[in-house]
């Protein structure tokens, strides 16, 4: 009797393991398929001209340089705005925050910010940066909007990285007579830098692929390369959106080439950051 039940339990376990394993495999193969399909479709159209030429003939020919450059510019300014505030907020939470209600509200706000829909950020950016601050549709307005969206990622990455720096280091610096601030800035922050940098890069690469926030704050259907940050720009994700939905469909190899450049850019940065982080974690053992 009990032997039968053991057999039954083992059989159920085998089935459960198979079913959950199959689910995992499905999820993973979706990712692999998406990447593989884009690589397969887009690889043929990648050339030096494609990357460095501007779109021609109403996006039916030519390259994607203005959009690529625009995305790089937007990401650069996003980092410029989001990094200082995000890192300082992370420092506050890891080093200064007391266990009280205010801290709890701050953490709730950060977690909640990460869940705000990207189009809501877009409208917020339109109302505040484009209109109220009078920046107009511009690289600056779009970057500020993307910075808001990236902020929670940077704050969380910074806090986590700082928390991993052991206490001894802080106490040693304080015992040598360093003030609290210089302990943080000269001892703790450098030790946590790899974690902060990689976490922030992961957040920024996600921002680079966002379309909805820049839709109403930064982009134009067709624009020359912006001379200053106060002009609108083209951007890869928006360029892709336009090409995918406009009525006379542009040549497929241009569409897939653009998709490949966007995905490859985001992935390479992502994988590089993640690998570097893993290596740093292995190398530095506190």
């Amino acid at each position: 009797m009990s032997r039968l039940r053991v057999k039954q339990a083992r059989a159920i376990e085998a089935v459960a393991k198979f079913v959950t394993g199959a689910a995992t495999l499905t999820v993973l193969s979706v990712v692999v398929f998406v990447l593989g399909f884009i690589l397969y479709q887009g690889a043929g159209s990648i050339s030096w001209e494609f990357l460095t030429d501007r779109p021609r003939g109403n996006m039916t020919a030519g390259g994607i340089w203005p959009a690529l450059y625009g995305t790089m510019l937007l990401t650069f300014y996003t980092a410029l705005f989001a990094l200082p505030v995000g890192v300082m907020a992370g420092i506050y939470l890891a080093e200064y925050a007391k266990k009280n209600r205010l801290t709890r509200i701050m953490r709730l706000a950060i977690a909640n910010m990460a869940g705000v829909p990207s189009i809501v950020y877009g409208l917020f950016g339109l109302a505040v940066f484009v209109l109220a601050m009078g920046l107009g549709r511009s690289v600056i307005a779009g970057s500020l909007t993307l910075a808001c969206l990236t902020l929670p990622v940077i704050i969380t990455a910074t806090e986590e990285a700082l928390n991993q720096v052991p206490r001894d280091l802080r106490q040693a610096a304080l015992a040598l007579g360093a003030s609290r601030l210089s302990t943080i800035l000269r001892v703790v922050l450098p030790a946590a830098a790899p974690g902060i940098v990689t976490g922030s890069i992961l957040g920024l690469s996600r921002a680079a692929g966002e379309t909805a926030p820049i839709l109403v704050t930064a982009v134009a259907f067709y624009a020359p390369i912006p001379k200053t940050a106060f002009e609108p720009t083209m951007a890869l994700p928006y360029h892709l959106y336009i090409m995918a939905t406009q009525a006379p469909k542009p040549a497929p190899d241009i569409v897939w080439g653009t998709a490949l450049v966007l995905v490859a850019g985001v992935s390479i940065i992502n994988v590089a950051a993640a690998t570097w982080r893993a290596r740093q974690r292995r190398r530095i053992r506190w």
């Binding site: 339990a9 159920i12 376990e13 959950t20 199959a22 689910a23 995992t24 499905t26 999820v27 993973l28 990712v31 998406v34 399909f37 884009i38 505030v85 300082m88 907020a89 506050y92 200064y96 709890r104 701050m106 709730l108 706000a109 977690a111 909640n112 910010m113 869940g115 705000v116 829909p117 990207s118 189009i119 809501v120 877009g122 409208l123 917020f124 505040v128 109220a132 902020l151 929670p152 704050i155 609290r180 601030l181 210089s182 690469s205 996600r206 692929g209 379309t211 909805a212 839709l215 109403v216 994700p237 995918a244 939905t245 569409v255 966007l262 995905v263 985001v266 992935s267 992502n270 993640a274």
Partner: protein
Amino acid sequence: MTDVSLARRRNGRPSIRRAAENVVTRIIHLSGLAAVIILGAITVFLALNSVRALRDVGIFDMLAGSDWFPTSHNASYGFLPAITGSLWVTAVALVLCVPLGLAAAIYISEFAKGRIKDIAKSVIEFQAAVPSVVLGLLGIYLLVPRFRVWLGLDTGLTAFTAGILVGIMALPTLISIAEDALHAVPADLRTGSLALGNTRWQTTFKVVLPAASSGIFAAVMLALGRAIGETMVVLMLAGNAGIILATPFVSARTMPGTIAGEMAEVVQGGEHYSVLFAMALVLFVITFAVNLVADVVLERQRRRWRR
């Protein structure tokens, strides 16, 4: 004493140093409030821009209105088509991603070991970085024409099509948070159950899953929040028709899709513009509530395991 004063002199004037440190510390303290300030500013600015819609159209006519004809001569701004559309898309997305995601989370947390576990986790983390516009593009080229034929529809741009891809987009959130919740269950509970002669699966099903239930609930809530707010996929794939849907197999208008699709074309400061802000406010309130519930539940569980 003299040593100390010498050291001070070498480091520059202490009063200036201390003042500078105070300023920097203040700025750091202030930055801690950044998230609170931005969330507050989002609420205020969405509300300010919605004032005209609330005054001229009225909250009842928006929330309970069943017609969305913003550009017709006698404009009507009913949110119901967009709300039901969003609900259908979200429902399809959750039906797809909750079972799949939970099963994957269980496998990764309870069965997978070593290298396979690491690879699975990093691939899923990586999936979160695939831009949604790219998935939208794949949907347009791969799913839309096939669904039209398979399901015998007039168009492949439906709530169902969008829901499938939104479900895929919500998977990384669901899996990573559910996996965290399972992982956080103390090892004692597992070893205790195994010692009593339970198999791994019995342990998982009867001990670990119930113990992690609130974390799993939070994971589902966060996935729900992502699904409601996902913009580009629904803008590109849901079809943006203006009717209240009885099934997901027709073109749907969604809240994020409506806002993103029409905002670029409206007169700034006009009625339609203000109504779109009101819709964004509704969307924001919904996602805020969903996220808040998830956060509170997660926080409570975290505190329970810490003891």
